[in-house]
């Protein structure tokens, strides 16, 4: 299903005379998960926003299947699924209504029956209004919204922050399945469990990316950030 990997090359971003990203370059193969680590305010969310097409970069490219997704918006919308940090949900509406924003009725029923939404457990609270949901439910629902139309690249910004173990387990299980089907995951995280999901990690510091091998030693990791 997924044919090719991605290549980020030379992405730069300045904001109010401050350089947030300097020449960001990395690759990710299909069926892999790349972790972006970094302290608070290091630019992880900015990079993901650029990749998702929310923010414009000052330079650089985002290649996928020979196309620069930063230039080809229509293709980018089709192949990228972006899960931002805040939950992209409408509090007054139910899970069903929030999902209907992204799925057609038939797709939604299909996914709830046996697809990604079933996997995330969203079917258990499909009629519940968002304002009555727990944090974990909201996050699972958010992911469910963002993976509509089976995107080939998934960008996640701290997906399991402030979630309990059970919720995290469900999300990681889904991510593993997604990876196994050939999807590419770019994960911005602080969480050590999420780091373990990643096949490759990079540390974003002072606007530059540096490859990092996590060996389970968080003290070492903290020292590098």
């Amino acid at each position: 299903m997924y044919q090719t990997g991605i290549e980020i090359a030379g992405i730069k971003k300045n904001y109010k005379s401050k350089t947030i990203l300097k020449d960001i370059t990395f690759q990710a193969k299909r069926g892999s998960c790349v972790g972006l680590l970094g302290g608070n305010g290091s630019g992880k969310s900015t990079l993901l926003s650029i990749m998702a097409g929310v923010l414009k970069s000052d330079a650089g490219s985002f290649l996928y299947a020979g196309e620069d997704l930063l230039q080809k918006k229509v293709l980018a919308e089709k192949v990228i699924g972006y899960v931002p940090q805040g939950n992209p949900l409408m509090e007054e509406l139910s899970a069903w209504d929030n999902l209907r924003l992204w799925y057609s009725k038939e797709e939604l029923c299909r996914e709830l029956e046996s697809g990604v939404l079933k996997m995330l457990g969203v079917d258990e609270f499909i009629k519940l209004p968002v304002r009555k949901m727990s944090g974990g439910m909201k996050k699972r629902l958010s992911i469910g919204c963002c993976v509509a139309n089976n995107p080939e690249i998934l960008l996640l910004d701290e997906p399991s922050a402030a979630l309990d173990v059970v919720c995290k387990e469900r999300i990681y299980s889904y991510l593993e399945t997604y990876k196994s089907k050939g999807g590419i995951i770019i994960l911005a995280t602080h969480d050590t469990q999420e780091i373990e999901l990643c096949d490759k990690c990079y540390i974003l510091k002072d606007g530059r990316l540096k490859e990092y091998q996590y060996d389970g030693d968080i003290h070492h990791l903290a020292g590098c950030l």
């Binding site: 971003k13 926003s49 998702a52 929310v54 923010l55 229509v74 919308e77 409408m90």
Partner: protein, 415 residues
Amino acid sequence: MKSFLVYFTMQLKRIVKIFPTILCTTLLLCSVLGLGVAMLLQADGEDERQLKVSVGLVGELDTYMGYDINVMLDVLSSRFGAEFVSVTEKEARQRIHNGTMSAYVLLPEDLVENISMGKNDKPITYVTSDGKRGISGIVMDEVVTVIAELITCPQSSIFGMQNYLRDVGREDEIWQATEELNIIYITALIDIYKMGDREIIGMANQVSTAGYYACSVVVIFLIMSGLNCSSLFSGNKMGLCKLLVSKGQKVGNQVLGEYLAYFLLLLTFFCMVIAVVLGAASAGLFSVPELGEMNLGEMLLFVLQFIVVVGVISALQFLVYEMVEGVVSSILVQFILAVALGYIGGCFYPLSFMPEGLQLLGGLSPVGAALKYADLCLVQEAAWKELGLLVIYLVLFLLLTIWIRKRRVENEAAL
């Protein structure tokens, strides 16, 4: 297009979810406004005889001069609807405090003697409750000055006549002549209104007072009802905005979808309040001459024309919600803006009461332009200039909203 329609539908659904609550509060708001208007129209009255002012008389006048003043006051009372009631000063102050009396007149001792000697070091004191000199206070001052003129002039000339008779040695005629001249003067006072021929030419394409009030009330209602929707539109929704942008639903589409849903909500309220106003007018609770002259088609056209006003006001409120984060702050800012624009635009005091400079500014402000446009539509006059201004405001507000949201999404994504 499809995704825009889906997003717009979701916004409508959000509004429908909390519509019952908003509806209840809006109905209450409507009632409060309706009460205010009813009281205002009641205060306006039918003619001079319904000025409905209750004034106390403290002190006594037991001479023929006092009789004259009392008769004068009785005449003024019947002519101008002011009710003069004899009370003690303590009773008068209590009644003013309770709101059952507007003011009292304190007649000093030896008033007559003083006047007959041409002195007024003991003047008649008009005591009112409010030190605040609102329009009604200022108007009462002017009426009091007039009453003084109406009382002192005849008395002055009667004394002059008496002086003449003394000068020519005809003192024995003074009493008779005074009686006769008094009666003539009192008759003159009674007949004074017959000297003027009132010619009502009709509104001649100007809006009537009742029509002005009706349009003002609807506009005030619209600008205030925005406060009910703060929980819908304020707060941090950047997560959803970013996701929508990543999926090709640009900021412009988002804003348009949300705005249209809000506009439809306000339009619903507008239809409600118009139905109430028209219903009350046809039930005879109050009279708006312009509406009385309209047939059904013209009335529908007026309502349709008013939709532009709804559009502009909803766009302005939407812009404020976008500018101000936080439910509490957005309520405060919406309120202050509503009152400020309502005042400048002529919703509380007619624009004609304001200085020329402010009239110009008020007429150009969004609410002022909206009210002016509504007034012109009510009298079925062409209002292209005002319509053009409103359309410019509408577009400007929406563009500003889009720009602000775009900046916020970029700022949020960059930080």
